[in-house]
Amino acid sequence: MRFDYQVIIDALPFLLDGLLLSFYLTAIAMVGGLALGTLLALMRTSGKLPLVWFAKLYVNFFRSLPLILVIFWFYFLVPLAIGRPVGSLYSALIAFTLFEAAYYSEIMRAGLNSVSRGQINAGLALGLTWRQNMQYVALPQAIRAMLPVLVTQAIILFQDTSLVYVVALRDFMTASSIVAVREGRLIELYLFAAVVYFIICFAGSMFVRSLQRRMVR
């Protein structure tokens, strides 16, 4: 059997759409998840019991579920809750963001814990309020310390976007599968998909490594 490049070239616009959706989901879920996750981590470290409990419950809840189930759920539940369909894209965005927030919150919590008591005291002693101290002293240091892990999580997230096929969205992986089956060219398409994933994730991990090297400074 001959390796058929043409089938890939013909399918490129379709595959590119899939790739763009994967990037889009990753970007939104990363930004939203990081923001919500940071909020959860702050609740967790606030020492205020109801907030601590809420954050704990949230994180443990989402971490005990497979992502695919969460995506499914939001697809069926959100329309029930608000009384009209929201479409698969929005339900997937919500599901990803809420799900990622649980993981980002644990990363940010580890980051906040890595900021020493001495730094916290220094900020407070200068007259910063708890909130200001978090904002200007603790969080910038936590994010720095956790940057490599945050990027790694983004790479995992990027790979996980392939799960949106369950709500009939076409990310890069799903688009590749569709072409593969339609054209009967499984080897070409799955090989191509693997190469693309590898390049993107490899670039990501190179980025992480250069961040780590720069931060040793």
Partner: protein
């Protein structure tokens, strides 16, 4: 200026401060010494409310630190604190370390904060290091920046917690010189230190702590010539022998 009135504090079952009282007048320099674990750090952290007390009363410049309704950030902004391990913000340059709380706490303009920061860095002899990050500075330089950072808030009093004990010996004097100058200018200071040379030079009184208690408060010459408690004598003989 600073009044500590019969404070008690526990960590669980362990009483770390036992009925401690101390009055520091405006412009006075008081050195606090004593063996490790005697509660010196805890005592000065109570003064700006970084550690809560279980009983007793502390006032600074008329503000009641131990009153739960007191807004602590407002009190702390007026009391400078210098730490053993400097605690400069590592993600900010020396200049930015001095500017941050001037802007966020005192609501000074960027321009004003920057001017003040440059002026203070100059004063501690670090005008040329303004744009360096803390990890590019030596320990002695970092501690001088930390002192300048506290001074940028125009504090009414300064607390020092073993400011030279994490420093290499050759850097101790550059930090002490800044502190001596500050003392001579009339800053109210509580200094936890084992630098007895510094104490002799600028302290009006010396406080000796042991086991969570203030064992002795004496005028500096008296403390060095004839400390009244046996423990202080023992402590002095140990620390002056090397």
């Amino acid at each position: 200026m600073i009044e500590i009135d019969s404070i008690n504090k526990w960590y669980g079952d362990f009483q770390v401060l036992k009925n401690c009282s101390l009055r520091v007048e405006k412009g006075e320099v008081v050195v606090v010494c004593g063996p490790s674990g005697s509660g010196k750090s805890t005592l000065i952290k109570c003064v700006n409310g970084l550690e809560p007390v279980d009983s007793g009363r502390i006032t600074v410049n008329g503000m009641v630190v131990t009153d739960p309704s007191t807004r602590l950030p407002k009190v702390r902004a007026q009391i400078g604190m210098v730490f053993q391990h400097f605690e400069l913000f590592p993600h900010k340059t020396a200049l930015e370390n001095l500017m941050l709380t001037q802007i966020k706490v005192l609501r000074r303009s960027r321009h004003e904060a920057e001017r003040k920061a440059h002026q203070l860095l100059e004063r501690v002899g670090l005008a040329d290091q303004a744009d360096k990050y803390p990890n590019a500075l030596s320990g002695g330089q970092q501690q001088r920046v930390a002192i300048a950072r506290a001074l940028a808030m125009d504090p009414v009093a300064m607390l020092f917690d073993e400011p030279t004990s994490a420093l290499d010996p050759e850097m101790i004097s550059e930090v002490l010189d800044v502190m001596v100058e500050l003392a001579r200018e009339g800053m109210t200071m509580i200094v936890v230190t084992h630098e007895m040379g510094f104490a002799r030079k600028v302290a009006q009184r010396v406080v000796f702590m042991d086991g969570g208690m203030i064992q002795e408060i004496a005028p500096t010459p008296v403390f060095f010539e004839s400390p009244s408690s046996e423990r202080a004598k023992l402590f002095l003989s140990k620390i002056l022998s090397h």
